[in-house]
Amino acid sequence: MSLTPKGSPVVEAAAGIEHVDGLFSYALVLTRNRSEAEDLVQETYVRAIRAMGSLRAGSNVKGWLFTILRNVWFNQLRQRRTAKVVAMDGEEGAMDFAETAKDPYASYASKVEQEQVRKAIQQLPADFREVILLREFEELSYQEIAAILDCPAGTVMSRLARARAKLRTLLSAAFKTSDFAGKEVME
């Protein structure tokens, strides 16, 4: 018995909208430029809608969308020959924050903390940024990440361990505490 929903195309297409924050975050991690990231997300949905007919029953739609986004980005990079990387420091202030608390002080503290996390992640090498976002923010499994990155699950695991160690070092420096300074990264 097939359990695939057979709703209208509108419903099926709109379903992917729940991943727009995740895709936008991934796009920013890859491009480091807000405008490029927005275009990349839109292009991802355009490609996804075109290819939706080929999506098999029970497919992992989220992983599929992230794979499309990554492929589109690397195709664009190949076409340009050289990666155009624009620092996003000046744009970060315009980013929408996720409100996590109603209390003004807690909200402020949360924003400061989130800002430190963003800065630390942006200091990571590109392959570390990717794997941290896909695991810690999107909660994808090693297998799902391996499929997106087109590498073995063992590579995902080792890369993730090194990325976490590096991130811990960066964050402990940012917060000037030893909470995250467990191990130094070996690169």
């Binding site: 709109a14 936008f24 809608i49």
Partner: protein, 292 residues
């Protein structure tokens, strides 16, 4: 790989819910007696908690959401996204290129209005998806925190009646667990372990924990005024629509009935139908699951 490396390796696997069955049991047993692994796990949890508090890392702007939705709407209406994009770009270029300071920018206003109307037309859908995703995330986070020992049960009992009575007056809704319908010789597929209150939005939700042979199952119950069941793979049974989601190696099944929204979280590696059948084999025997 020496023993120390292997344990460090397993800490990461455990943290990421990648250990299964016997490996998971073995590592839990090891963890109970290994101070180094406990310490390493705490460090990893501290970092993970910090990162999780920062979710989402970035939030897409309302404009981008409207663009994506407009793209979808036009695509399924038979137009190509490229044509939409070209049309919007043409409109934008025309409006921005006009003598903006001498003539009222009708085209710019019309473009903004178009995007706004398209966006507003899909606000109910976006809101439903956002509310549903939020409930699934809460159920999943709660389940994981419970598994990690961060959410101890406030009542431990295998009696549905006792748990129902304990919740009376504590949650802002009338919640009653069904009594067991097992015959004396039936072997239950699961047993109730206990329950506790958890925060959800500005109020409380009820968390009930069940144990199976190799797994734990959490049932989160909240008022349907604050929690929504929507999206995912849909299964209809007995007039109810069940929404099946998989996330981070867990199954989350949500549904709404009688003013309450339920989320059932398990680590089962099976389809939606199989997940439901774990506790409701008799329903399959009667052909009560059907596709939508």
């Amino acid at each position: 790989m020496n023993a120390g490396d292997e344990h460090s390796h397993n800490v990461s696997l455990y943290l990421d819910n990648e250990l299964r069955d016997q490996e998971l049991e073995d590592f839990r047993a090891h963890l109970a007696n290994c101070a180094d692994c406990k310490s390493q796990l705490e460090e990893e949890h501290a970092l993970a908690d910090l990162l999780h508090r920062s979710r989402p890392l970035y939030r897409a702007s309302d404009e981008l959401r409207a663009r994506v939705i407009a793209t979808q709407q036009v695509s399924v209406s038979g137009h190509t996204p490229d044509r939409l994009r070209e049309r919007v770009l043409r409109l934008l270029k025309q409006s921005m290129g006009a003598s903006e300071f001498t003539v009222f920018p009708w085209r710019a206003v019309a473009t903004i209005a178009l995007v706004f109307v398209l966006g507003m037309a899909f606000v109910p859908t976006i809101t439903r998806h956002a509310r549903a995703a939020s409930y699934v995330n809460t159920a999943l986070t709660t389940h994981r925190r419970y598994l990690d020992g961060k959410l101890p049960l406030e009542i431990e009992s295998d009696s549905p009646e006792a748990v129902t009575a304990w919740f009376a007056g504590k949650v802002p809704f009338d919640f009653r667990l069904p009594t067991s319908q097992l015959l004396p010789n039936d072997e239950p597929a699961y047993r109730q372990v206990g329950a506790r209150l958890v925060n959800y939005g500005d109020s409380y939700a009820a968390l009930v924990s069940f144990a199976m042979k190799n797994d734990r199952i959490s049932l989160l119950v909240a008022s349907s005024t604050s929690a929504e069941a929507y999206g995912g793979e849909e299964i209809i049974s007995r007039g109810l629509t069940f929404h099946y989601h998989t996330k981070a190696g867990f199954n989350v099944i949500t549904w709404t009935t009688h003013g309450l929204t339920y989320a059932l979280v398990s680590g089962l590696h099976s389809s939606a139908r199989q997940s439901c059948l774990v506790c409701h084999q008799n329903m399959a025997d009667k052909g009560e699951f059907r596709e939508q």
